[in-house]
């Protein structure tokens, strides 16, 4: 799929709200968080998902879309989507810990964020085309 800005926003929100949330629900209780309660852990993993959605829409997607303009094909290779996880993860971790004051630890965060990113990545490269046959012809727009 070669995205448009609208398509980027919609795809990100849709996949995070479906596969991303579902995966978070499943994986959170299994994270190595020491003595933190399940509800505390859920609060921070859900916050991580929410931040990924929010910061993505407001900051990252417009940046990616701008960078895409320098490409003749106006495409966004799969590799880029996978690598986006690194700066995005770092920013979300920093925001969670230092701005919102969550007690997040690096290892559980990496496991949760990393696997969720992978799930989202996989959904974007196949399954979403089954949910909507038109998605890939509309620059990633679902509506």
């Amino acid at each position: 799929m070669t995205p448009t800005l609208l398509g980027r926003w919609q795809s990100r929100l849709f996949v995070l709200a479906t596969a991303g949330l579902l995966w978070t629900l499943l994986v959170t209780p299994l994270l190595p968080v020491g003595f933190a309660t399940v509800s505390e852990t859920y609060a921070s993993t859900f916050a991580a998902i929410g931040l990924t959605a929010g910061v993505g829409v407001l900051l990252w997607e417009p940046v990616y879309q701008f960078l895409q303009q320098f490409r003749w094909e106006k495409d966004w290779p799969a590799m880029f989507t996978l690598l986006e996880g690194i700066p995005e993860g770092a920013l979300v971790f920093f925001l969670l810990r230092d701005v919102l004051g969550f007690d997040v630890r690096l290892v559980p965060f990496l496991i949760h964020f990393g696997t969720t990113w992978l799930v989202v990545f996989l959904c974007l490269h196949g399954p979403l085309r089954v949910v909507s046959v038109r998605w890939r012809f509309r620059g990633g727009r679902l509506l």
Binding site: M1, T2, P3, T4, G7, Q68, Q69, F70, W72, E73, K74, D75, P77, A78, M79, F80, L82, G126, P127, R129, V130, V131, S132, V133, R134, R136, F137, R138, G139
Partner: protein, 538 residues
Amino acid sequence: MPINHFAKGVKTVPTTDSSRVLAPPAPPGWDERAPELPDFLLTSPVWTDELVHESGIPVVDVPFLTVGGGMGSFAMIDCLRIAGVPTNQMKVLTNLRHPWENYAYLTGVSQLPPHYRIRSDASSMPDNIWGFPSYAVRRAFRSRSPRGFIAPLWNVLTENVFTDYWTPLAGEVFDGMRREADRVGYWDCVAHGQARMVRRRAGGGYFTVFTTQGAHKQRVVYRSGYVHLAVGYPSIRFLPDMQDYRARHGSGHRFVNAYEPHEQVYTDLVARPGTVVVRGGGIAASAIIHRLLNDREQHGAATRIVHLLRTYVDGPHGPSRFMRRRGRLGWAHQGFNWPKAAWGGQLKVRLEKLEGEDRRQLWELMAGSTTPYRRGWQRQLAQARRDGVYTAVGGVIDRVDRAEDDRLAIVYRDNATGTPRTLAADFVVDATGLIGDLRSHRLLHDLVEVSGAARNLWGRLDVSPGFEVRSLRNGAGRLFAAGAVTEGAYYAPADSLLGLQYAALRVTDQLAELGFCHRIGSGRSIAQWCRRMRGVAP
């Protein structure tokens, strides 16, 4: 040797590679042997039921008709089957035995036989409207070794960044289509023969005159509400200099076009040293040069190649920092025929919104001969440059003549200086396939001249963004067109595997609104995808 289905008894030239296609599928000629249609039909653009009845030609009712039977018709039938239309509601009128026949023929002669890579991505799948799981995933799961499993997946993950685009083999595409055709019952819809004309019917819908194939040609008139035209190229046009050469010298075996059988060129060049001029900068030119260089490496040919390019590209080119295409040493490089976003990204969205001169500008910016950057080809070319057996020059041919020694004397004008230069060569292979005017195709000629179909800014059929021939809408009836005949309208990659599927999907959506089929919404899409994965009928 593969069995030659199309030219029984005709001797084929021995080849250095025996797996290529040599005989063309029966061309959609002009059905001279069938009796003429009565004048009262020929002259009236709109026919009534009574008029047709009077002519005595049998009338067959079928709600949906697609003319062509190539890749475009296949995509259309596949999509409508998925949208719930039974096979007895649709007909495919074609001169082809199977939908990939013309494609296989054209790719075969232009040196992309079934075991070669074609030029579309892993998810441009004529046999799978979802494009998932892609050809690359399919190849990975069929592989027997860990390396064979990982290689295609790694390639699609890193394509166009660390690696070249992953592309399927032509044979993989054909095999998949055969399976899908069996699954959806495509063969039940096919009627072999030639469609002669499509006319509007008084009261809505269309009449399509059809002549059946075989010894007893029979004429039938199909009456249908919806007609889809996927007739491919109106014709493949040869450049005037080639036609001129052939007119003057009769035999054309030294000056050939890439899209006609020219195996003798390669055979001859393996037998004795020679010089060949290849004209054009597209994928066909790459494939031909690749073949010539392979013959050098594998069969000891001593061929020298002069590559003549009308536009010699010596670096990245384009009007602005944001619209700059890669290129070097003569070639313009691009993964596919169009920039990738023309299929479904921002370029597609932009083109759809433009009209008139603005639309023309974007078309022209995106068009042009390009070839994919493939590392293997690049290495081979670099070696050939070093060995002095391959030279690319910017210039245009002025004249080609037969020299005393039966070779060719070519006069070309150098782009840099504009001075005429002469060149002696054994062969010229013209790899610039030009698409003929609509008028060179009988049915399209009739559609434009008699029915008054409007043309777009490229002179092709003017279709809506939904591929409807708006000028011939008739009551509840709809006429659609897909493929090369619609270039110049709102969708650039119309003549591509994925573009034909996009057209099919757009047509299906409109037919769903008219109540002919179901809309492929999420529920149906998921259910149908599951059926496809299980290999059961839609």
